[in-house]
Amino acid sequence: MAVAIAGITDGIERRPRARADLARVAALVALLAPAVALLGIGLVWPFLKMLAISFQDRFPDPTALTFANYATALTDPYFLRITLRTFSLALVVTLITAVLSYPVAWFLARSNSRWKHLVFLAVISPLMVSIIVRTIGWTIILGNEGLINALLVGLGIVTEPLRLMQSFWSVVVGMVHILIPFMVLSIATVLGKIDPGYAEAAAVLGASPVRNFLKITLPLSVQGIASGSVIVFCLTVGAYVTPVMLGRGQVAVLAVTIHEQMVVLVDWPTGAAVAMVLTAGTLIVLLLYGLFLRRHSRR
């Protein structure tokens, strides 16, 4: 009996509730649809189009589908060398950025200094300065008639200006400069959430500062380093301005090659295949990060 009554009232109440549910779903769809449309038209569609072109033998009028573009992108020594250089550049930049940023993040998360907010502003303000301005700044510093050479020649350390531009390392310096703010923010966010009680407890129990840092704080902040590294790696792999302006044609990376293939050589299918290799590389890094997060949260 009770069940029957419950069933009846259920039936009576369900109808308006279902209508309310439907209204809620409609509202949600209406709120999210523009964003889905934007990313569908503005990101997914172009990407799929490019994926399709990477399998075409010619562009714009294909006669057959082929894997030849991928064969070229993945086995041609020219492309292989550039792929290798791009990913090693990203790795080097990520490592240097992480090491340089950690103490700054530590300062932002832990210090009681009254300058803290100003330091914070000084770290993130460069993010809002045009990348062209910043790269031109580096050419003024590193150029043959630049700041460093003026100092070195003026002090009599060298007689001829050193060639500091047009090298792998000048690109590294420029990239590290652009990416430090991202890394500092990622690490500082995680460091700020760590309960200082852990480190204090370890200190009370006799852990030396070094041991304390290596065994307590560093493992707890590794997630900030990881997320910062993913951002830095992805942004370095896709960077164009810095390798072109500071490498001056001597440091070919995938971004430069993709642009060259497509715009200068008008070979869109090969360019598209190279672009897909680049995208796959960043996807692998993201997947590794996802795996890391799962393992990390399980512990």
Binding site: L31, L43, I132, I136, E145, A150, A255, H259
Partner: protein, 266 residues
């Protein structure tokens, strides 16, 4: 660890932080003195004092029109991204639904998607539509790029608005629209203005994606600066950079006054 050790440690840390700040600031501020130099190339140290390079910006028409193009594209894409961003932020804050976290993550992909790939793909899509070298093509690309930033600030600001304010407004007889218009929007305003300022700057400075979408007849300022620097590295570039730095500083001050710059990145 005794107190002296802690003190030296802290001093060393402060000195290190100062060093990194100098590293971050040096390439940015170094363009300013060169903008006023009388040299005909970007040499250090600069000699003399002149304003002729600033005059040269005005004399060369292409910089003026590129500036206007960039400003127009930045305004259009920020306006569109604001509407779409706020709507979806409300969706994420007010509703719990399956796949919510995944969708949010997908919405953030433009932040880390390789710019060079996005630019090339965009060109492939826009060219058959006849939207290459058009303000609308560029605006679409920039809207995609700044959408995650707007979504993030809107989410952060919405989460801070007390839910009880909604209920209070309803109880007092306001309908859904009135609640949004007279209660939520005013509370959102500083966060949104800061997010908009930030997006304007991001769009205005965008280079890699725009590179594929511009051409003769439609250039943006960063591309025009790059092209100019390709054939002559004279202080005109430093002068434009100085003007941009002044604009950026004003934008940073606005954001800092409204909500604090940190909000944009958390």
């Amino acid at each position: 660890m005794n107190p002296t050790q802690i003190l030296t440690g802290e001093r060393a840390l402060k000195a290190y932080v100062l060093l990194i700040l100098l590293f971050l600031a040096l390439p940015i501020v170094i363009v300013v003195p060169l903008a006023f130099s009388t040299d005909v190339s970007l040499t250090f140290p600069p000699h003399g004092f002149s304003l002729r390079w600033f005059g040269n910006i005005l004399a060369r028409r292409e910089f003026g029109s590129a500036f206007l193009n960039s400003a127009m594209i930045a305004c259009i894409s920020t306006a569109i991204a604001m509407v779409i961003g706020i709507l979806s932020a409300i969706g994420f804050v007010r509703f719990q639904f399956p796949g919510r976290e995944t969708l949010l993550l997908l919405f953030m992909t433009p932040l880390i998607f390789p710019a060079i790939v996005f630019g090339a793909a965009m060109a492939l899509m826009l060219s058959p539509l006849g939207l290459l070298r058009s303000v609308w093509g560029l605006a679409l690309a920039h809207t995609v790029l700044i959408f995650p930033y707007i979504l993030r600030t809107s989410l952060a600001t919405l989460f801070e608005i007390d839910k009880s304010l909604h209920e209070a407004a309803y109880t007092l007889g306001a309908n859904r629209w009135q609640t949004f218009r007279y209660v939520i929007l005013p509370l959102l305003r500083p966060g949104l203005l800061a997010g908009a300022t930030f997006s304007l700057i991001i769009s205005f400075d965008e280079f890699t994606v725009s590179m594929f979408l511009v051409g003769p007849g439609l250039m943006t300022l960063p591309l025009e600066m790059y092209n100019y620097s390709e054939f002559s590295l004279d202080p005109t570039i430093a002068a434009i950079s100085t003007v941009l730095l002044v604009i950026t500083s004003i934008a940073i001050l606005i954001i800092e006054k409204l909500v604090g710059l940190g909000k944009q990145f958390s």
